[in-house]
C-alpha cells in the first residue's frame, strides 16, 4: 500500500477526473467554470504531491515505477503544460458551445497516462500509459461531434494510433521473448551484445510506436490532418503534452532499457532525424492553414529533438530536456494565439486571416512573432538556446554532418515562420475586423509563455542546471 505514495499525483489526477465526470451532469452545461477550475486544482494538487517526493529516488510496485529526478522533472513539466492547456481552453469551449465536463475529465485522464509513461520502469506500464493517454486524446480530438473535420481527425488518429500501439506491444512481446522480462533494468543487463534478429525486430517495433507519438518520419503522416481537425486546445495538447510525454518516455526506454543497443538505434534515428526535419520543413513551406503549418513545424521540431537521441550522450539528454521545455513554451503560446484569433467553428485559421494583425492587435501579433522567432531559433529566445544545446550535443558526439543538415533545415524553416510575420506587420488589413476579446486564462498563458521564452533564451542556465540534475539522476 505504501507504494501508492509514489503514484500519489496520478491517483489525485484520476480521482479528480472521475469527480468531474460525476459532477458534470449536475452542472449548467453552458457557462459553468467548475470543471475547468476543478481540473486546474487537480493539477496543482498533483504538482504539490510531486514536490512531496522531490529529490527522492525509489523503485516502487516491485520495480514497475521509478521515482527519480528525471521522472519528477518530467511530471512537473507535464502538469505545467496541462495547466496552461486547461485554463486556456475554458473560454474556447464556451465559444464553441462544447463546454462539457467530460472535456476536462478526459484531459486529466490523458495526463494520468502521460504521467505514468514518464514514471514507468517497465515496458508494460509504459504501454498502459501510452494507451490511457491515447484513448483520452482520441475522444478529445473528435470532441466537436457535429464537425465532420473533427470526426475525421479523431477517426484517423484512432486507427493509426491503434496500429502504432499494437506495434509497440508486439515489440515489447519480442523483447520479452528474448529476455523474459519487461523491466528496464533487467532489459538493460541482458541486452548488451550485438542483437539477433529477434531483438532487433523488437527494438524497431518499439521505435515505430514512439515514432508515431512524437511524429517522427515516416510515421508523421497523421499529424497535419489531426492537428487541423481537432479543436485548437486539443491540438495544443497533442503538440505539447502528448508529444513531450512520448519524448520523455522515449528517452527513458532507449537510454535505460535499450542502452546496450545504442549503436543500432542511433543509426536508425540518424536517418529518421534527417528525414523528419526535411519532410517537416519542406512541407511547411507551402501551407496556407496556420494549424497545418504549425503541425509540420512540430514534425520538424521532432526531428531536432531526435538529434538529442542520436547523440547518445548525457549532454544529448540534457539538451532534449531543455528543448522540450522551450518547445512547450513556444507552442503553447503560438497555439493559444491561434485559438484567440479563430472564430466559432474554428474558422479563420488561414494565414490570410493574419493579414494586418499587427495594427489591429499589436500585442497579440508581437507575442506571436516572439513565438515564431523562437520556433525559428533566433537568439534571445528559448528556441535558439535549445538548438544550440542540441546541435552542440551532436557535435560533441562527432556528428558534424548531422549538425550541418540541421542548420540547413533551420535556414529553410526561417522562411515560413517569417512569412506569417510579414502578413501580420507588413501588409495592410483589407477590412475592419471586430476586436478580439482576450479572456483572462488565455492572456495568462500567453504572458507566461512569452516571458518563459525570453528568460530561457537569455538565462538558459536556470533550467539547464535542473535538466542536468535530472539527467544524472535518470540516466546516470
Amino acid at each position: 500500500m505504501s507504494d501508492f505514495r509514489y503514484l500519489l499525483p496520478e491517483v489525485i489526477l484520476s480521482v479528480v477526473a472521475s469527480l468531474i465526470m460525476l459532477l458534470s451532469p449536475l452542472l449548467d452545461r453552458k457557462d459553468s467554470n467548475t470543471p475547468g477550475i476543478l481540473s486546474g486544482l487537480g493539477l496543482l494538487l498533483a504538482t504539490a504531491a510531486t514536490l512531496l517526493t522531490w529529490r527522492q529516488r525509489a523503485l516502487g510496485f516491485s520495480g514497475m515505477v521509478l521515482i527519480d529526478g528525471f521522472s519528477q522533472l518530467s511530471r512537473l513539466l507535464l502538469y505545467g503544460i496541462l495547466f496552461c492547456v486547461a485554463i486556456a481552453a475554458i473560454d474556447f469551449l464556451k465559444r464553441e458551445q462544447i463546454n462539457f465536463g467530460e472535456f476536462y475529465a478526459l484531459l486529466l485522464f490523458a495526463t494520468t497516462g502521460a504521467s505514468l509513461m514518464v514514471v514507468s520502469a517497465d515496458l508494460i506500464l509504459t504501454f498502459l500509459g501510452i494507451e490511457i493517454l491515447s484513448i483520452g486524446t482520441y475522444v478529445l480530438a473528435g470532441f466537436k461531434r457535429e464537425d465532420p473535420r473533427c470526426t475525421e481527425a479523431s477517426l484517423k488518429y484512432f486507427l493509426l494510433g491503434g496500429f502504432s500501439t499494437a506495434f509497440f506491444l508486439y515489440g515489447v512481446a519480442l523483447l520479452y521473448g528474448k529476455t523474459t522480462s519487461t523491466r528496464y533494468q533487467a532489459l538493460a543487463t541482458s541486452l548488451q551484445t550485438v542483437p539477433d534478429i529477434l531483438t532487433f525486430t523488437g527494438l524497431t517495433l518499439i521505435l515505430v510506436g514512439f515514432g508515431f507519438k512524437v511524429a517522427m518520419a515516416p510515421f508523421h503522416v497523421w499529424t497535419p490532418d489531426v492537428y487541423e481537425g481537432a479543436p485548437t486546445p486539443i491540438t495544443t495538447f497533442m503538440s505539447t503534452g502528448s508529444k513531450i510525454a512520448a519524448v520523455l518516455a522515449f528517452v527513458r526506454v532507449f537510454y535505460m532499457a535499450l542502452e546496450g543497443l545504442n549503436k543500432e538505434w542511433g543509426d536508425i534515428l540518424w536517418v529518421a532525424a534527417v528525414l523528419t526535419m526535411f519532410l517537416g520543413n519542406i512541407a511547411a513551406l507551402s501551407q496556407s492553414n496556420i494549424k497545418r503549418l504549425l503541425a509540420y513545424s512540430s514534425i520538424a521540431h521532432a526531428g531536432y529533438l531526435l538529434i538529442g537521441f542520436v547523440s547518445r550522450s548525457r549532454f544529448g539528454v540534457e539538451a532534449i530536456l531543455f528543448y522540450t521545455l522551450s518547445y512547450a513554451l513556444m507552442n503553447l503560446g503560438a497555439f493559444t494565439v491561434v485559438q484567440l484569433i479563430s472564430r466559432q467553428g474554428d474558422n479563420r485559421v488561414l494565414l490570410h486571416d493574419y493579414v494586418g494583425l499587427g495594427t489591429r492587435h499589436r500585442w497579440l501579433a508581437v507575442s506571436l512573432s516572439l513565438f515564431l522567432f523562437s520556433l525559428a531559433g533566433i537568439p534571445a529566445t528559448a528556441g535558439f538556446m535549445g538548438k544550440l544545446f542540441l546541435f552542440s550535443a551532436a557535435a560533441q558526439s562527432g556528428l558534424y554532418w548531422l549538425v550541418v543538415l540541421a542548420v540547413i533545415n533551420s535556414a529553410i524553416a526561417v522562411y515560413y515562420y517569417i512569412r506569417i510575420i510579414v502578413l501580420m506587420f507588413m501588409r495592410e488589413p483589407e477590412a475592419k475586423e471586430e476586436t478580439i476579446r482576450i479572456p483572462l486564462g488565455a492572456l495568462a498563458v500567453i504572458t507566461v509563455a512569452a516571458l518563459g521564452t525570453l528568460v530561457l533564451g537569455i538565462f538558459p542556465t536556470i533550467f539547464m542546471q535542473a535538466a542536468e540534475a535530472a539527467t544524472v539522476a535518470g540516466i546516470g
Binding site: 540534457e318 533566433i378 540541421a406 526561417v414 512569412r419 506587420f425 507588413m426 542546471q465
Partner: protein
C-alpha cells in the same frame, strides 16, 4: 564601470522607454530616442578617450560565466581593441543622426520605429564588442530582427520582398557559421568559446584542425561575412534592401551593417583560420576585384540615385576586402579606415538622397537637373560628400583608398592595378550623376525646391566635419588602430613563415 555593457543596456532601456511613451504623447518619443542616443554617443566618446592606444590586448574587458553546464561553457565576454573601438564610435555617431533624419518622415507607429533603431544599435554594439563566439553569434542574429522590421514596415513599395530577402540571405549564411562555431568548440577541446583563447591556441599550434575541417570552418565563417559585406556574387540582397529601406534603415545598412561583414573577416577569419585565409586569398581577392569593377559599372547605369549609391557600396566594400586580404599593415589599416570612411560618406549620401526625396518624392536622376541653381547649399554638401566618396585628397576617402592600394601593391601588383580602376570608375559614376542632377537645365517643377533647414544642417554638418577631419588629420583615428592591426598582421606573418619560409623572404 562596465562601459561596454552600459552602452548595450542603455540602448535597450532607451528603446523600452520609447515604447512606454503613452500614445497621446507619441511625438515626444523621438525626443526620448534622440537624447538616449546622444547620451550613448557621449559615453562612447568617453570610451574613445580612455582607450589606451598602445596596449596590445583587449581593453574594457568584461567576462562573466553565462551558460555553464557540464558540457558547454559560454562566457559573457566583451572587450575591444582599436578596430572595434572605432566601429562602436561610428555606430553611436550615426544613430542620433539617423534618428534626426527620420524626424518628419515617419508617420506610422512612431514609437516602434525609434525603439527599433535603438535596439538595432544595441545589437550592433554587441557584435563589435563580443569576444565570445556564442555571444557574437547571439548579437549578430538578434540584430536582424529590428532591421527586418525597419525595412519591412517602413520601407518603400517593394519593402516586403526586400526585407524577406535580406533576412533569408543573412540567416542562411550565419546558420552555417553557427555550425562552424560549435564544431570549432569541440575541436578545441570543448573548453571555451572565447575568441582570444582559441586564437592563442591557433598561434601556439596547440589547436591544429585537419585540413578539410579547417577549410569547411573557414568557408562557413567566410560565407556568413561575405554575404554581409557583400562580396560578389552574394550581393544581390543589397540593392533591394538599401533602396527599399527608409532613409534611416539605408544609412544603418550602408554605414554599419556592411562593416559587420568586413569586421568579421578581420576579427574572426584572419586569426582563427590563418592558413585557409592565406590559401584562399587569391579567390577572395578575385571576388573583391570583380565586385569593385562590377559594382562600379552597374552603378554607372542606374537611373535611380539611391540604387546608384547602393551599387557603389558593392564596389567600395570590394576595396576593403582587397585591403584585408593583402595581409600587411598598410592594407589592413587602410581597410579599417575605409570602413569608417564609407560609413560616413555613404551614410551622408543616403541622408542627402533622403532629404531630396522628402521634397520631391522621386529619386530618378532624370527628374532632376540644374538643382545647383535653386538649392545651392544642399548642392555644396552633396558635392563635398561626393568628393569624399570618390577619394579626393584632403577628404577622408583618400587616406583609406591610398593605404589599401599601397598595401595591395606590396602584396599583389596585378590586383592593385585592377583595383585602381575603382578610383577612376567611382569618379565617373559619381560625378556623372552629380552633373546630371545638379547642373544642366532646371525643369519647371523643381524651381520651388527649398534649401536645407536647421534640422538638416544638424544632420549634415557633423558628417562633413568628420570627412574633413578624417581627411586632414587621420592620425586621431589611425593611432587607435595602429597596434591592433600590427598584431593581427604579425600573427598572420608568423603562420606564413611556417608555411613557406622561402617565398616569404623573397616577397619582403
Amino acid at each position: 564601470m562596465p562601459i561596454l555593457s552600459a552602452l548595450i543596456i542603455l540602448s535597450i532601456l532607451g528603446g523600452c522607454l520609447v515604447l512606454l511613451v503613452p500614445a497621446s504623447l507619441e511625438r515626444w518619443s523621438k525626443h526620448v530616442a534622440f537624447f538616449t542616443a546622444l547620451l550613448i554617443f557621449t559615453l562612447a566618446i568617453a570610451l574613445f578617450l580612455r582607450f589606451d592606444s598602445r596596449a596590445p590586448l583587449m581593453q574594457f574587458v568584461e567576462r562573466y560565466p553565462w551558460i555553464h553546464s557540464s558540457s558547454i561553457h559560454v562566457d559573457y565576454y566583451l572587450g575591444i581593441d582599436g578596430i572595434s573601438l572605432l566601429l562602436i564610435l561610428l555606430t553611436t555617431f550615426i544613430t542620433p543622426i539617423t534618428i534626426l533624419s527620420s524626424w518628419r518622415t515617419i508617420e506610422k507607429q512612431i514609437r516602434a520605429f525609434f525603439a527599433l533603431l535603438l535596439f538595432l544599435q544595441a545589437g550592433i554594439i554587441g557584435v563589435f564588442a563580443a569576444l565570445d563566439l556564442v555571444v557574437f553569434y547571439f548579437f549578430w542574429e538578434v540584430m536582424l530582427i529590428p532591421m527586418y522590421f525597419l525595412i519591412g514596415v517602413w520601407g518603400y513599395e517593394r519593402r516586403v520582398y526586400a526585407a524577406v530577402k535580406f533576412f533569408l540571405y543573412t540567416m542562411a549564411g550565419s546558420l552555417l557559421m553557427l555550425a562552424a562555431i560549435i564544431t570549432l568548440y569541440f575541436y578545441n577541446g570543448a573548453v571555451t568559446f572565447s575568441l582570444p583563447d582559441i586564437v592563442a591556441n591557433v598561434q601556439q599550434r596547440s589547436l591544429i584542425l585537419p585540413g578539410g575541417v579547417e577549410a569547411f570552418l573557414f568557408l562557413a565563417f567566410f560565407l556568413a561575412f561575405a554575404i554581409k559585406v557583400p562580396l560578389f556574387p552574394l550581393h544581390t540582397w543589397l540593392p533591394d534592401a538599401h533602396v527599399e529601406a527608409p532613409t534611416a534603415g539605408s544609412v544603418f545598412l550602408a554605414s554599419i551593417l556592411l562593416k559587420m561583414g568586413t569586421y568579421g573577416l578581420i576579427r574572426f577569419c584572419l586569426p582563427l583560420f590563418p592558413r585557409s585565409c592565406i590559401k584562399l586569398a587569391p579567390v577572395a581577392i578575385t571576388l573583391a576585384i570583380i565586385g569593385i569593377i562590377y559594382g562600379a559599372l552597374v552603378a554607372m547605369v542606374q537611373p535611380d540615385v539611391k540604387k546608384l549609391i547602393a551599387y557603389s557600396s558593392v564596389s567600395h566594400l570590394g576595396l576593403v576586402v582587397l585591403g584585408i586580404f593583402s595581409f600587411n599593415v598598410e592594407g589592413l589599416m587602410g581597410a579599417n579606415y575605409q570602413m569608417l570612411n564609407h560609413g560616413i560618406s555613404t551614410g551622408a549620401l543616403f541622408l542627402l538622397v533622403g532629404i531630396l526625396y522628402e521634397r520631391k518624392h522621386t529619386r530618378q536622376i532624370r527628374d532632376f537637373g540644374g538643382l545647383a541653381h535653386v538649392i545651392p547649399i544642399y548642392s555644396s554638401f552633396f558635392m563635398i560628400t561626393t568628393l569624399a566618396s570618390i577619394g579626393m585628397p584632403g577628404l577622408n576617402g583618400f587616406v583609406g583608398e591610398w593605404l589599401i592600394l599601397q598595401g595591395s601593391f606590396l602584396a599583389n601588383r596585378q590586383a592593385a592595378a585592377f583595383a585602381t580602376t575603382a578610383v577612376i570608375l567611382s569618379a565617373v559614376y559619381m560625378l556623372w550623376m552629380y552633373q546630371r542632377v545638379f547642373f544642366g537645365t532646371l525643369s519647371e517643377s523643381n524651381r520651388l525646391l527649398s534649401d536645407l533647414k536647421l534640422r538638416e544642417y544638424a544632420i549634415l554638418v557633423p558628417l562633413v566635419v568628420m570627412m574633413v577631419w578624417m581627411g586632414m588629420y587621420s592620425a586621431t583615428f589611425l593611432r587607435k588602430i595602429d597596434v591592433s592591426t600590427a598584431r593581427i598582421v604579425s600573427d598572420i606573418d608568423s603562420i606564413r613563415q611556417q608555411i613557406s619560409p622561402k617565398i616569404y623572404r623573397v616577397r619582403r
